[in-house]
Symmetry: C2
Subunit: 302 residues, 2 copies
């Protein structure tokens, strides 16, 4: 059984794992994201120790961004213009490849998780779907016609503009670039900023959750209208508040107002907007799936 | 040279053409959309007359919607739940196939136009782009990774929600389903409803156009964030007001606020958001492109 390394490279923490599949998950390590030198060295040390015992076939990285995911570009594999200190213009793939000498797969954190959910989780058998994470930030990726979303750059769904009723919610939003974009209104730090309490300390009946469901529904409706996905998977720390899902289902139906006459939305919306099938391992297992694809691509180019 | 029939089937009028390519455009006819019986019979008569002289290899239909574009579905080729009188649940492809006995390609009006622009127009050589039409309605289609956007149904980009500042613009929007969704605020009838004058009678310096550019920019920004297209093509009657383009370019840059660090947007936005390369024949030539693909598919299945 070939073994792969996966890195869920987040802006706050790195999760590294060795696995061949979700049911063959061999090892995992977590550490804070500091400088590229220190953080990537910790990842390399973890994989080298495994590699010495059982060679890893490839490594995959589901990476915070913005990144350059275009294999034809001279800066493929870089974190590009991130405001995160020290990380702008870091050649993540190049450093890992030099240190470990195996193929390195690379995509956004959310495209990685989408690939993992497609292979083993809630998107299995689908060809057009979206994976969203709502936590420190709000991001989305996914597949259209069976291929991961890429284009000029990559999706940055959190930075969509959505309606913001200042009478109902005077909170100005927390996005450095756009103030009250979708992420600015609905990510975890926006909940804390608005209510002056961390989300996990608010009771399940707190009005924060109805407002959160409202904002999430506005973005989800825009995704439905733009991409017509067969399913929308929603993970991340905020979605651990399971009471959001039923409110979100109702609000999406209410905003669509019967416009999309499909049983998936009219009758079975609880199976249409769902948590990740891989739970909180969606990110790192997605990185493992990226590694598997990198190995296949390297083989076909050899 | 194989000849194809194309139908741009709009809610207001049908345009039928016979062509092998944009520079070999043989004939065209236009007539109002009335009942399915009468309208489809007019199209059939036009193609039969040509067919008798030079056989047509296939027909393509770029159709108003909602439609069922899924070849695996029992209602493939139908206009489905449209509020347009007489047209709900009309088997457009079946009727044309029975009458003309050639392969019939079928997709949304905007996906058809996108395909035409990809083959011969402003999207040539791209693999991820969006085609928008802003006229009686507001719709969008396009390609991701070289394949037309489909999923649970098809894109209905006009029904995204966008911010609406009621102080600046108290007009409530004209969408029957959603009031002030993107289409409800920015389509041609919304301009007329807001200013009580048809758009084509408003001077080029009328404040209507700055507001229109603002609304169009909000939706375009959401498309950029969701799909990261390599180009956005904008046609339809409203975009015949060429003064909108420079205002739109500026407003999109202003709303993005430097978030997407790509020269296509920062430096060359006038080549990034563009009118159709095929002009007002984008729709009907797109239908011809759908016919060409239908002929290829029929050949590969034979």
């Amino acid at each position: 059984m070939a073994l792969y390394g996966g890195i869920e490279a987040g802006g706050t923490k790195f999760v590294c794992a060795v696995a061949s599949a979700p049911d063959d998950f061999r090892d995992e390590i977590r550490f804070p994201t500091t400088t590229p030198d220190e953080t990537l060295a910790q990842a390399v040390d973890f994989f080298r120790a495994h590699h010495a015992r059982t060679p890893l076939t490839a490594i995959g990285v589901s990476c915070f961004g913005p990144i350059d995911p275009d294999p034809a570009s001279p800066t493929f594999g870089y974190v590009t213009t991130t405001p995160k200190p020290h990380w702008a213009h870091t050649d993540v793939v190049g450093r890992l490849h030099t240190a470990l000498n195996v193929p390195v797969g690379f995509d956004t954190d959310v495209n990685g998780a989408a690939l993992g959910e497609h292979r083993w989780g809630a998107a299995h058998g689908l060809d057009t779907f979206v994976y969203l994470t709502i936590g420190t930030g709000l991001g989305g990726g996914g597949m259209v016609n069976g291929r991961l979303l890429h284009g000029l750059m990559h999706s940055e769904m959190g930075h969509m503009r959505v309606p913001h009723d200042l009478t109902r919610d005077p909170y100005p939003g927390q996005c450095t670039y756009h103030g009250d974009c979708w992420e600015g209104l609905a990510c975890g730090p926006a909940i804390e900023g608005r209510w002056q309490t961390k989300g996990q300390h608010l009771g399940v009946d707190h009005p924060a959750w109805a407002l959160e469901a409202h904002y999430l529904a506005l973005g989800v409706v825009n995704i439905i209208m733009m991409l017509s996905p067969q399913r929308i998977i929603m993970g991340g720390g905020v979605m651990d508040q399971q009471q959001i899902f039923p409110m979100l289902h109702k609000e999406v139906q209410s905003l669509l107002n019967g416009y999309v006459q499909k049983p998936e939305i009219l009758e079975h919306i609880d199976q249409y907007i769902v948590p990740p099938g891989l739970g909180n391992r969606a990110g790192v297992l997605g990185a493992v799936a990226l590694a598997m694809d990198a190995a296949v691509n390297a083989g076909s180019q050899a």
